[in-house]
Amino acid sequence: MNPVRKRRLIITLLILGAVAIATGLSVFALQRNMTYLYSPTEVDAGKAPDGHAFRLGGIVKEGSIHRTPGSLTTDFVITDRFQSIPVQYTGILPDLFRVGQSTITTGKMENGTFVATTVLAKHDETYMPPQVEQAIAKAREEHRIPPGDSPPPPAGEGQGGGKSANSPRPPSGHLPPQAGQGKTSDAAVQQ
């Protein structure tokens, strides 16, 4: 390679290296501010910001969904299998919201209850037809493998539960969706 080109290549690579390092350092330094959500364990440990809104992420605990009749208020519990936080939400819940589903809710702690302004349902990266899912659920029941999720480890300093929050989760027993189900209806509680 001739010296002019070599020089251009080296300068370019140096600039790239500098940018990569700068980005890496910025991301590392901003970890705490970039925290997207807190797990129940972190909230319990006092790591969630006090007094203003934050996101609470976890799984909807079995048997915890209660609707107040005559209103849109729903009470449920978010858990990471180590700690649980009661949540209250008034409004329409997403289609995928149900027991055992990973959920991210935004709001504030008030007297031990998390009062939510938004509730989002998270889904995992598994895609399969209903028949396959039913076969898996049946096989699991036969072999007594407990449904639900492996708990995310309690989060370390400055880094949210990373990989485990996104690891594949076998579906807990529930019926496949019916065709024609409304888009924004309250999801029927199935346990």
Partner: protein
């Protein structure tokens, strides 16, 4: 100056009149193949594939959202490589390919964001969230737009191409961030479904249309970049003899069919 490490055909292709003819010959076939693959993939995805146990028929957006996302990243990588060659070796064809890849990449990134939003609203419950995956993909769109803008900001297009190529290279750091965002941070967006080397967590009846659509979008990109690069080369080399001969060959048309 040793040229022995460059294969002969790359050398041949790098010459603008050769590339112009090559691109013109290949482009219709690539587009036909892209359309055929697209038709097969869409039929497989929209008609043949069963509904998802969890998301019902809403998941079918995957057949355009995921291939577009893959293209948004792949085109950026290609643009960065072409940009590096343009910066270091000052090859005209590399400049043209780098600069003309940017709008195609931006188009796929826009499709990714919009189809993702339309998918997120019924499934997650929101059109948007500032988690690491969505935010970094939006940053990717801004990078593409930045490359396009910077290129056109210069009087001298060759200098503009070099400046924009440097920006493209700097932005490469965003590619691993987009890809690994769902592993490194807590995100609303779920983790990767398709694994190049291991087991994918998607049923085969859903996987094959997805892969066919990925092929279709790749073929489309090649068809598109060949067409765009051809035109750009004509413009870049407009004073040259080969362009003059080419233009004289074609009759002057007012409303001619686009080539």
């Amino acid at each position: 100056m040793s040229r022995s490490y460059i294969p002969h055909w790359i050398h041949w292709l790098g010459s603008p009149p050769n590339f112009y003819r090559f691109a013109g010959a290949w482009r219709p076939w690539l587009m036909a193949a892209a359309l055929a693959a697209g038709a097969i993939g869409l039929y497989g995805g929209l008609v043949l594939a069963p509904p998802d146990y969890q998301q019902g028929d809403a998941y079918r957006i995957i057949f355009i959202h995921v291939p577009s996302a893959w293209m948004s990243l792949a085109i950026y990588a290609g643009m960065a490589v072409a940009g590096l060659i343009a910066l270091v070796w000052r090859v005209k064809l590399a400049e043209v390919i780098a600069m003309e890849s940017a709008p195609i990449g931006a188009a796929f990134t826009l499709v990714t964001l919009v189809t993702g939003s339309l998918w997120g609203k019924p499934m997650w419950g929101t059109w948007w969230t500032w988690d690491a995956r969505l935010t970094s993909e939006l940053v990717l769109l801004f990078l593409y737009l930045g490359v396009i803008g910077l290129y056109h900001a210069f009087e001298d297009r060759r200098r503009g191409a070099r400046a924009a190529s440097l920006l493209a290279l700097v932005g490469v750091v965003n590619l691993p961030i987009v890809h690994y965002s769902v592993q490194w941070w807590n995100t609303l967006h779920q983790g990767s479904t398709v694994d190049l080397f291991g087991r994918s967590s998607i049923a085969p009846s859903m996987l094959w249309p997805l892969l066919v659509m990925a092929l279709a979008t790749h073929l489309y990109y090649f068809a598109s970049i060949l067409g765009r690069a051809r035109t750009d080369l004509l413009s870049l080399e407009s004073g040259k003899q080969w362009v003059r001969e080419l233009v004289e060959e074609q009759p002057a048309q007012r409303q001619g069919a686009p080539t």
